[in-house]
């Protein structure tokens, strides 16, 4: 699609902004995710940098009008490079009292609140726990909305009126109110409307009245902004300067799925996914099941264990095997992961982490499964771990996980999380030619010369005779004559691979399996240390989806005039070889994580470094301003001086993420 220019108002004042954070909030059935997604596409096509944060309940339809039923979608878009979905929304669109109540606490004073007055009925106010209607008290002494710019609009009423000609039931007509809200917000921020019209025409191609109503509601929302006196200013956020390339907006789960397809293409192997549905990983199963034309087979198994079991079988049979799940599923798959460790078969194990323990918070994000990935098996069972840092990065991380799995004949953890999975960002689409070629390197010949019983030289196939450099064992697939062999969960004799209960052999094999994983580090690039001044005494190190908030927090600290360095780990096992030296070259190390200190525990154990944790488990991404304050405090302590981040910390105005010298 061509880039689309701004839709600038002909009649209203136009103000320039460098970035805006909007949160759409309503009942689970109000279509807020779709509204947010459309606004995102409009902004992406317009050329803003953006990051999104969908946030929805685990229930498909929680009781209507209640606080647990509130679903929201936050988008941060800017004319410069940004890293997070923003800490606090500048604009809240609240479709009912519950949405207002659930989100009000996140707003900074001065924020704009657009509310659908239609749903502020006694019944809905009761459900949200309001004893009186806050909209009736605007400007009075007990106005809980004082300090905000409140715009009450009868979104539902106007929508129903606008779509009257299509003869829908009142209920169906009212359902188009999300498109009215989208139209209004699209006007406010000069978004291009063509992408949404095209989208609606595709989505509702077969239902003319619904299509007509949605387009009419969308246009009515736009015109409401443009023509009524209610909104006096339109805002313009210019396109961001981004590196050259072709972009698309992408969620983590989609990027991860594409990465797995790409790994199949670049390894020239059929892809096999064995999976059991689980939030928030199911999207990957759905997506991969669409790509049979790439030789992708998906099996929806009877349970988590069967999912990985089938994948292990497919791996033994010579395919690129994958299993996808979330933390509870990993718990069930643990024994089978151990089998893949013992049999040394390639396997990508995707864990889209969610809040735990147990069922925990299925739709919320967390990164508390790192130690489970590291240690959650019986015996010494090392498994490499790869973690993407942003939604788009899930693509490259998936290719990397497959590269390690195939090259080193090992299961590999790919640790995504709920925020990456559902969040989105503009993604610079890579060139397929630039992706690594992965060589399956199947064994075709016997690999061992032996002297047989008659004293003659003979050749045999030894399934555990290793490559000297990588320690990878040969991958001999059924159907290869002369390489018939048996593998399994029992300890293997070194080289020949027959069952061995010999104590010295077990000791040796445990060490060999560990050493093989360690040798993956030989193939890793040096870490990138972001230390612009070269003067920093404090290093902030993280992994996974905290990349955005940590990067944004470091930028805040630097904009306030202080030095801080940042390193982000993609490989958690083994660690890159230069990590120890990097850690030792800073006075203090801070490890922000959405857990109670799992990476910091690993760093302390491995490098004897006094890593300090910064830990939150709200089920939401870390907030950049709060983290910046924590970094600032540590910088102050380390450098022995007062640190005041001013507007770049928790003092308003917040949420500016531009790099200092940008």
């Amino acid at each position: 699609m061509e880039r689309v220019g701004p839709n600038v108002s002909q009649t209203k004042q136009v103000k320039q902004l460098d970035r805006v954070i909007i949160r759409f909030a309503g009942d689970s059935g109000d279509g807020m995710q779709l509204t947010g997604d459309r606004f995102t596409q409009e902004s992406a096509v317009f050329g803003n940098d953006l990051v999104t944060l969908p946030n929805f309940p685990a229930e498909i339809r929680a009781p209507q009008g209640t606080i647990p039923g509130v679903s929201s979608f936050q988008i941060h878009f800017a004319d410069h490079d940004i890293l997070t979905a923003g800490d606090r929304p500048d604009v809240l669109v609240a479709m009912n009292p519950a949405a207002l109540k659930a989100n009000l606490g996140d707003l900074p004073r001065g924020a704009t609140i657009i509310v659908d007055t239609h749903d502020f009925t006694k019944r809905n106010l009761d459900k949200a726990g309001y004893s009186s209607n806050p909209l009736d008290k605007l400007g009075e002494v007990d106005d809980i909305l004082a300090g905000f710019q409140v715009q009450p609009v009868d979104l539902t009423g106007i929508t129903v009126e606008a779509v009257k000609e299509f003869g829908l039931s009142r209920k169906d007509a009212a359902r188009a109110k999300n498109m009215f809200a989208l139209g209004l917000l699209s006007w406010m921020y000069g978004r291009p409307t063509e992408p949404t019209i095209t989208f609606l025409e595709r989505k509702f191609a077969k239902v003319a009245d619904i299509l007509g109503a949605n387009i009419a509601a969308f246009k009515a929302g736009w015109n409401y902004g443009e023509t009524t006196e209610t909104f006096v200013v339109q805002y313009e956020i210019k396109p961001a300067k981004m590196p050259s390339g072709t972009y698309r907006n992408i969620t983590g789960n989609l990027a991860l799925s594409y990465g797995l397809v790409a790994a199949g293409v670049r390894s020239n192997l059929p892809v096999f996914l064995g999976s059991y549905p689980i939030t928030p990983a199911s999207d990957i199963l759905h997506e991969l099941s669409k790509h049979k034309a790439f030789g992708v087979t998906t099996l929806q198994a009877e349970d988590e264990i069967a999912g990985i079991g089938a994948a292990i079988g497919a791996s033994f049979a010579g395919q690129l095997a994958i299993t996808t799940t979330s933390g509870p599923g990993i718990a069930l798959k643990s024994e089978a992961i151990g089998l893949a460790v013992m049999t040394e078969l390639p396997l990508v194990v995707v864990n889209v982490q969610r809040g735990g323990p147990s069922t925990g918070l299925p739709t919320k994000t967390e990164q508390a499964d790192l130690l489970q990935a590291m240690y959650g098996r019986n015996g010494e069972a090392p498994v490499p771990i790869v973690a993407p840092q942003s939604p788009g990065d899930c693509f490259a991380a998936a290719v990397e996980a497959a590269r390690i799995a195939i090259t080193y004949r090992t299961p590999v953890f790919l640790l995504s999380d709920g925020y990456l999975a559902n969040g989105s960002e503009p993604w610079a689409i890579p060139s397929v030619e630039d992706l690594p070629v992965i060589d399956a390197n199947f064994a075709t010949e016997p690999n061992k010369t032996v002297t047989n019983a008659k004293g003659e030289q003979d050749t045999e196939f030894w399934p555990y005779l290793r490559d000297e450099a990588t320690y990878a064992r040969p991958w001999a697939v059924p159907g290869t004559p002369g390489l018939e062999h048996r593998i399994g969960g029992l300890e293997k004799g070194e080289g020949h691979g027959n069952i061995s209960y010999d104590p010295a052999n077990h000791d040796k094999m445990v060490r060999i399996r560990q050493e093989k994983i360690q040798r993956i580090a030989d193939s890793l690039p040096p870490l990138e240390v972001d230390d612009p001044s070269g003067q920093a005494k404090v290093l902030v190190i993280g992994w996974g989806s905290t990349y955005g908030p940590i990067g944004a927090a470091c930028r805040r600290v630097r904009r306030a005039g202080y030095d801080v360095a940042q390193v982000h780990l993609r490989h958690l096992n083994p660690f890159p070889k230069d990590l120890g030296e990097i850690l030792k070259s800073y006075d203090k190390v801070l490890v922000p994580e959405m857990n109670l200190g799992q990476l910091s525990k690993m760093l302390r154990a491995e490098y004897l470094v006094d890593a300090q944790g910064y830990n939150h488990v709200y089920g939401l991404p870390l907030k950049a301003a709060e983290l910046a304050e924590a970094i600032g405090a540590l910088v102050g302590e380390t450098e022995g001086r007062e640190v005041n981040l001013g507007e770049h910390g928790l003092n308003l105005p917040a949420d500016h993420e531009e790099a200092p010298n940008a």
């Binding site: 698309r248 790409a262 034309a293 790439f294 087979t297 198994a301 089938a310 033994f316």
Partner: protein, 367 residues
Amino acid sequence: MSTIDLPMPSLGTALVPTLAEGETQTAKDFSSDQEVRWCPGCGDYAVLKAVQSFLPDLGLRRENIVFVSGIGCSSRFPYYLDTYGMHSIHGRAPSIATGIATAREDLSVWVVTGDGDALSIGGNHLIHALRRNVNMTILLFNNRIYGLTKGQYSPTSEVGKVTKSTPVGSVDHPFNPVSLALGAEASFVARTIDSDRKHLTAVLAAAAAHRGTSFVEIYQNCPIFNDGAFDAIKDRDNSHALIPLTHGQPITFGVQDEATGLGDKALVRGAGGGVEVVDTASAAADAIIVHDAQNPDPSTAFAISRLTDAGYLNRSPIGIFRQVDRPTYDDQARAQVAVASEAVASKGTAEERLTALINGGDTWTID
């Protein structure tokens, strides 16, 4: 014992490469160099011998045969066969075999499991493999005891069984594996005995030939922890112990009448919807049930399976209870991939199509 003579409309090994003209294989070719380590007198030896002698008859290339097992005494089986094999984890062999069979149409896939492995810890995988009808053969060695863990009762042990974990007798009601498999809508269900080499081999041949999941329960004696569990039905003097099932034949057993060829006992429809054993002499000729393994309705096969004693085994039907043609999961899954792949055959290389895929949706270019 009767021979198995069924029409085989779709062959289980149809897509597996066979030996070239003039090539031969013997049991020795299928014996690995590993020392067999079952207890002396274990029924597993007899099954291993039968399988090693029978496999060459299939005429398949050895490298295209895969044996998968779980955990338990019987699950050591793959180590002793010189084919491809995996000794996996407890109960999960059907899931692993499902992956292998779905990934590769050119492999003959076998699962070796036991009553604990298949019916207790792996019960879920077993029923789903049967339901999906993945092209593989499951050999369930039923010794009605846990052997490898040294003698606890199993899900096929009779109520009242005294074992290490049930010193005053088990109160667990046992599974009838054949009834379970029929209930899971298995397309091939059979039962045989370790000590009857001829019947065992005939059932294995039919199971291998069947396209879909073939389920074969093999009564197998554990001489250490459950010795004699099958003595009553192996007693050659007790002609009423076994009810042999032969497709297309009236189901009779016991002392054979030389003139009619029928046994002195017969199966007829029972009052409650099941089947009953009656004296053949007292039954009208057309009342005797003619065994129809290919009946799409499994009700009669199920009713026959209920004639198996749930307690100590004094009587049991054996043979092929059911063999019906039903599309297999793996054939259909591969067909979906093949159809999709064919549809894009003219649309460029995989790399070109991948480029198109990731550039799909709304894109924009920055110079």
